[in-house]
Every structure is written in structure tokens, then in C-alpha cells.
Amino acid sequence: MDWTALRLSALLGLCTLAILLPVAVWLGRSLALRRFPGRAVVEAAVALPLVLPPTVIGFYLLVAFGGRSPLGQGWQAVFGHGLAFSFEGLLLASVLVNLPFAVQPVQNAFAAVPKELREAGAVSGMSPWSVLLRVELPLAWPGIATAAVLSFAHTLGEFGVVLMVGGSIPGETRTVAIAIYDRVQAFDEGAAAAMSAVLLGVSMVALGLTSILSRRVGRRTVDA
């Protein structure tokens, strides 16, 4: 069992959530409630990681992180090391790849909050911010929690993109999914089996939670 890889994966998952969730709440809510030009394009772009092969995503990210791109050069100038094959690069990739898993449940949850409730909040004297915190989020939280669970589980399991942009540097970019692959390559089936079992367990728990939460979303809105 590669504990370093497991710890790295968990860290990557948590950091991904910390960045991804606020972005997903903002983006999902905007997509659910606002009509703006280019909305369909944004929706398509968010869903793109679902259909693109991870190697394709990884390739483009690698190009974007590289020394010849403005992003890669800027990062190098500020932090003194490249974005590719680093934990930060892996984190950024993870956030992007997980967008559809986070945005879509959030979007559905906000779309299910009746418009009248937001209006009722406003005519009750609540500022838009207060309506968000006291009316929308309490009603949409099962969707947000679903987004968190799905993204976390998916981050642990991501393989192709991680291999492309992160390589397999122990303690820096070697996540548990990569470690399993390495162990199999080295004919260390015992370690591969143990780590696979951990991922299987986490995925089962995640899906169980998701199904419980999605039922809650339904119940909340029917009450309204």
C-alpha cells in the first residue's frame, strides 16, 4: 500500500473541492437562473470533459501549462517553477476536469428552487446575498453536497489527465490511481489490490451518498 499516494490523492481531492465548489455554485446558479448570450456555449464547454478523451484534455493542458504559453511563463516568473508536472498544475487540471461533475448537480438544484421563493425573500426585505444564504443555499444544499461527493470521488480515480500533466512523481503528482498502475507494471499485485479495494470502497460510499442526497433534493422541493 502506497500511503504517500493515498495521502496525496486525498489532499488533491480536498484542495480541488475548496476551489471547485465556490466556482461551481456561482457558475451553476448563473446557468440555472440567468439568460445571457453565450449561455449554451458555456454549458457545452462545462460538459466537454465528459466526452473528451482524458489524453486530449491532458494534451491541451500540458500545452497551456508549458513554458511557451503565457500561463506557464507567468507561473514560472511568479513561483520559480513550471506548472506542468507539479501539484499545483495537477490541482488546476483536476478543477477543470471536474467542472461537469460539480456544475450540473448545482445547476439542477438551483433550478429547482421556485422563483417565487427568491421573490418572496426580496419582498421580505432580504438583500440578494441574504436570499442566497438563507433561502437558496439551504434548499439547494443537497445538490451542492452531491457535487462535492462526485467531484471528490472522481478526483481520486482520475488517471489519464493526471498521467499526462503530472507524470508520476512520488509525493508530488503520483496519485493513488497512478500508483495502482505502477504497482501492476511492477507485478506487485498485492499492493494494487489493496489500493483498488480502497478506491472501490470510496466510490461505493460516494454513489450511495449521492443517491440519498438526490432523493432529498426532490423531497425538499415537493414540500414547497
Partner: protein, 380 residues
């Protein structure tokens, strides 16, 4: 200055509203509602009643308009003032109540008390729930309450922010008949302790007449007439208003001449001359719509041959009889070239004595003071 709004040039207590919009929802409406007054907006569905209310709350923006409440300007498209809903001191009851499903009754009411210090909110919310007769149900969630109870929570929540205006959007439409009557009585009692303008949107004229001090009739977003119910029913300004109020016996005629000495205006109606109350506002030769109130249609005591010589007597053939409790609604097809039908109620026993049956010929007289003339409004 509360909410940083500008001072109105003409500070008049209460609410003054002017709304204009070409589409998609047309509006052409001027309203004024004094503190303590209940103004009912009535009209068929799609008349723009709810949209007008939403303009006041700040949930909808008209093309041009002004909304002034006491000394605060909430909306003035001329100067670009448009306060968001949370900065307008309105309380609003939604048609489906829109209670927050994740909060208790107490929580719903307290949620609208952002202006009070945190420690005072629950006590005040309890007071309001007691006012709407819901004490004991503070901890219930909306899903655990009946429709009538939910409506009361919605009323308490609307009052919770100490609004300067109370807006009620079809507040009784989602409950059964018995509950509706009870809630209406409670609102009638509640309004006596309120000293703010109350706007009630309803499609039910009886409800508007029972609860409103004045009624504004809306159609296609246009305010056609605003008046107390009795005046509205007796003297609608146009045939359009009369039809919206479900008044019958509307005809078209031409002013023949005035006879001020006998207090009569003579009206040409087909081949007949109808004698109406003196109405000097209408010029001789002018084509007018006129109506006669059902109560002013009197069964003629004499037989048919002499009846024809009496004032405003009309002979017709009974085309329908509908029993309504103690009264009989009679529809009479007028048997002369001008045609049309007259509708009026008769006590059941009188109808029986007169031997009324369908197809029977029957004479009635139109009482002069029940005849009301209406100017024709050119249709654009």
C-alpha cells in the same frame, strides 16, 4: 432618509402610482391609495393585475412609470430611480404564498424582520402569528399546515417588516370556499387595525366589493374606472366596464333631445323612445351605450295592450327561466326590431302568479332612474 430614496415633489400620504408599458405586458394605469384604504384591482385573467402589483414591489419594471409611497420615490423612470424590492417597504402575499419550506412558521415570519435587532424578532413574530390566529403552530413547517394556515403565515410574514404598503395577489384563490370566506372575514378585521394602503388583486368582483373601499377595473393593462363598488355597478363609465362587471341589459341608442323641465333625456332606441333621467352631458344626436339595472326592470301590472302605452314599456317573449333560491332569473327576448334581451330577477311567487313559462309574452317597464347612459369610447 430611509433607504436613501429621493423626496417626492408632491408628498401625499399613501401610494401614488403611474405605470406605462407597450408590451409584452401592456400597462396604462394610474392609481392612488390612501393610508388605511383597500383598493381592489379586478379584471379578467391576463388583465395585468398581478403585473401592476409586481411593478409596485419592484419585481417587474414598467417601460415608464412612477411609484411614490408617502415621501419615498420607489420608481421614477424619468430620473432613473428604481429601488430593488428589498429596499421598498412592501409586504406582499403571493398567490401560492411562497413560504420558505425549510423554515417553521415562526422562522418564515422572523425571516422578514431584518430591520429589527435579532433578539426582538422572535417575540414580534409570535405577536404577528397570534394576530393571524396561529398561536400554537409556531414550530410547524409549511408542509405540515393546511392551505388556510399557510395563507395566514404569508399574511403575518408580509406584515413582519412593518411595510408602508400591503400587496395581496389573489390571496384567497388557493383555498376552498369555506376557508376563503373565513380568511376574507379575518382580512376585513385585520384591515381595521392597519393604517397603510392595501392593494388587493382579485378576479372575483364580489370579493373586491366585500373587501375593497374602491375598485379599479383593469382590462389589457388599462385602468378603465376606479370607484366604490356601488357607484361602479350603478354608473360604469363604458359598456366595456359594464361587461367586465358582468352587468347585463346593455343596449345602444341615440340621444334625441333633453327636456330639462321634466328632468328627462329622450333616447332613440330602434323604433322606441326611452325616457331616461336628465343627462345633459350627452349631446343630442350622440350615439350612446345605455344600460338598465336588473332591479329597475319591473314586471308590468297591466295587460299587454295597455302596457304598451306606459312609460318605457317593453314587450318580450320569455326565453329562459332560472331559479336562484327565492328568486327567478328571467331572460326576455324583446319582440321588436331593436331586438336584444333583457335580464332581471323576480321573486319566485310573483313569477308563479304571473304564470311565467318559456315562450310566454310578457311586458315590463324600465324605471327611468335605473337607466344609465355611457359614452362610447372609440376603439383604437
Amino acid at each position: 432618509m430611509p433607504d436613501g430614496s429621493a423626496v417626492a415633489t408632491t408628498a401625499k400620504p399613501g401610494l401614488t402610482v403611474r405605470l406605462r408599458a407597450a408590451g409584452p405586458i401592456p400597462l396604462d394605469l394610474d392609481l392612488a391609495c390612501a393610508p388605511g384604504e383597500v383598493l381592489a384591482l379586478v379584471g379578467p385573467s391576463g388583465a395585468g393585475k398581478s403585473t401592476a402589483l409586481r411593478c409596485l414591489a419592484g419585481l417587474h419594471r414598467p417601460e415608464t412609470g412612477r411609484v411614490i409611497c408617502n415621501d419615498a420615490v420607489w420608481l421614477d423612470t424619468g430620473t432613473g430611480v428604481d429601488l430593488p424590492p428589498h429596499r421598498r417597504a412592501v409586504g406582499m402575499v403571493f398567490q401560492d404564498y411562497a413560504l420558505f419550506p425549510h423554515m417553521t412558521a415562526l422562522g418564515n415570519v422572523a425571516a422578514a424582520m431584518g430591520h429589527l435587532p435579532r433578539g426582538r424578532r422572535h417575540d414580534r413574530a409570535r405577536e404577528l402569528l397570534t394576530l393571524v390566529r396561529l398561536s400554537g403552530l409556531e414550530e410547524r413547517r409549511p408542509a405540515e399546515m393546511s392551505g388556510g394556515q399557510q395563507q395566514r403565515v404569508a399574511v403575518a410574514r408580509a406584515l413582519a417588516r412593518d411595510p408602508a404598503v400591503l400587496l395581496l395577489d389573489e390571496p384567497f384563490s388557493a383555498v376552498d370556499r369555506a376557508t376563503r370566506r373565513q380568511l376574507q372575514e379575518e382580512l376585513a378585521a385585520l384591515r381595521r387595525v392597519l393604517s397603510i394602503p392595501v392593494l388587493l388583486v382579485t378576479h372575483d368582483l364580489e370579493e373586491a366589493a366585500a373587501l375593497g373601499d374602491r375598485i379599479c377595473v383593469l382590462h389589457h393593462g388599462r385602468g378603465l374606472q376606479t370607484a366604490p363598488a356601488a357607484e361602479l355597478l350603478a354608473r360604469p363609465v363604458s359598456a366595456e366596464v359594464a361587461r367586465l362587471l358582468d352587468l347585463r341589459n346593455i343596449f345602444r341608442g341615440k340621444v334625441e333631445r333633453h327636456d330639462p323641465t321634466s328632468g328627462v333625456t329622450l333616447l332613440r332606441w330602434g323604433e322606441r323612445t326611452v325616457r331616461a333621467e336628465h343627462a345633459p352631458a350627452f349631446a343630442p344626436g350622440e350615439t350612446v351605450d345605455w344600460l338598465v339595472a336588473g332591479a329597475a326592470v319591473i314586471p308590468h301590472p297591466q295587460d299587454l295592450s295597455t302596457a304598451c302605452k306606459g312609460e318605457n314599456s317593453v314587450v318580450g317573449q320569455v326565453s329562459a327561466l332560472v331559479g336562484l333560491g327565492g328568486a327567478m332569473r328571467v331572460t326576455l327576448k324583446i319582440t321588436s326590431p331593436e331586438g336584444g334581451t333583457l335580464s332581471f330577477d323576480m321573486p319566485l311567487h310573483a313569477a308563479r302568479t304571473a304564470g311565467l313559462v318559456v315562450d310566454k309574452k310578457f311586458a315590463v317597464a324600465l324605471l327611468r332612474d335605473g337607466i344609465h347612459l355611457m359614452r362610447q369610447i372609440p376603439t383604437s
